[in-house]
Amino acid sequence: MNLITALARLLIFPGLLFAVPAAWFFLWVERKAVARMQGRIGPPFMQPFFDFIKLLGKSTPPRTGIGGLLMRAWPFIAVSAAAGAVGLLPVLPASGGFQGDLILLLALLELPSMCIIAAGFSSGSIFGEIGSAREAVLSVSYNIVFLLAIVSIAASQHTFSLAALAHQSASPLRWLGVIAILVCLPAKLHLNPFSLPNAEQEIYSGPMTEYAGPELAMWELSHGLEWVAATGLVATLAAPVFTLWWVAALVFVALCFAIVLLLSAVAAATARLQIDTTVRFYWQCTMIFAVLAVASALFMRLRA
């Protein structure tokens, strides 16, 4: 029974069967929201699905040797990691089975960006290498804040277990952590003020420059799944506790949708920052609040 529940979570909800259409839906919402904010009509509803199918039917340039093999492998690793991260989200009350914790979720969320860095360097394209270097610098910047936010949440609630966190009511410190995570999400999802790694037209397509066809389709899918996992993490932490499972699932989806809209609005309203400004933003402005959050969480814990 436990195995069946775990498989259902990984494969149906919030796993693959829910996550893949949700990934396409979120990609569409992002493009549509940006278009509406620019006074355009924007792409039709099924657009990311059509893009995906079309990319599956395109040919790929010949790749040889270990480098070529690695280049083919990166997008698939990224997709599996992102899908695994979505499957870990405790939306439904788990009755036993495998339960991951925040640390595993963070590792799986970080894996796609590692894959992007590796993909850019193994592609051998100068633009890919610039994009990868930028992604690496960006990842070092926002991850400190991201991890500190997670640590402060876990310290204030005395647990790293996702299911336990989802079923506790939120404390003020947790809200501080959620806001810190929200500040990191645009950088994690390569959205506009921090869209440095894939800076379109500036360094071609960054790490994705040499990718084509089905491999590019996998990158698009992994990007969509990252959207679902990252917004799902925030929704899990911010959602109030419900006893009815279908209310919990509905609130989860609605919260994810609201976060996607918020991030798209920010992306449409801002221009791309330079890499040094971005690093300064995370290391100087945001870090102070993250450190304060962790310090107060630990202090409160000592006092209790």
Partner: protein, 186 residues
């Protein structure tokens, strides 16, 4: 044709990704291509995306009369685009080399070097004409993938005021009122 092929053709028609390349253009056609993506014309409704890398693109948009310097770059980029692919020649320059005809710095017209599928005439063509050309190219793309037949190049009709009068085509705003849509097989 089974269901998967039908879906693939439909997707190809609804998701043309462009790569824009300047073959020595005066920048007139280039800004019109960008204008077709801006709020007034909004080509994204057709699923059009301007891509940064030729590897991602389905349709290569080439402007300009193809200078000697640009020829090799254009051939390289054409080879970098992964199949199935289509090529649009935007403006009168890549089709005929326009007023620069017989210049010793030119290697044009474009069809001497790579196969062109759609010609969008005009100097510069209006954004609506470019969008029409992209839609036609996406159709050709879907057909080509389905049947694997060579498809003759299509010359799009002039749209709107069309030619600004700078080129030698004789289609200045007054002269072109009787212009009819035509498909020319070369």
């Amino acid at each position: 044709m089974n269901l998967w092929n039908k879906l693939m053709c439909y997707s190809r028609r609804h998701s043309p990704w462009l790569f824009h390349m300047n073959g020595g253009s005066c920048n007139g056609c280039d800004i019109e291509l960008i204008a077709s993506l801006t709020p007034r014309y909004d080509a994204e409704q057709l699923g059009v995306r301007l891509e940064g890398s030729p590897r991602h693109a389905d349709i290569l948009c080439i402007t300009g009369p193809i200078t000697n310097n640009a020829v090799n770059a254009i051939k390289t980029v054409y080879d970098q685009v992964c199949g199935p692919k289509a090529v649009i020649a935007i403006g009168s320059c890549p089709a005929t080399t326009n007023v620069f005809i017989e210049s010793r710095t030119l290697a044009g017209p474009l069809s001497k070097h790579i196969p062109v599928d759609v010609f969008v005439p005009g100097c510069p063509p209006r954004p609506d004409a470019i969008i029409l050309g992209v839609a036609k190219a996406a159709e050709i793309l879907a057909e080509r993938a389905g049947k694997k037949l060579p498809i003759a190049p299509v010359v799009m009709p002039l749209v709107g005021p069309g030619c600004g009068g700078a080129c030698a085509c004789g289609n200045s705003a007054e002269a072109k009122t009787e212009e009819k849509p035509q498909e020319v097989a070369q």
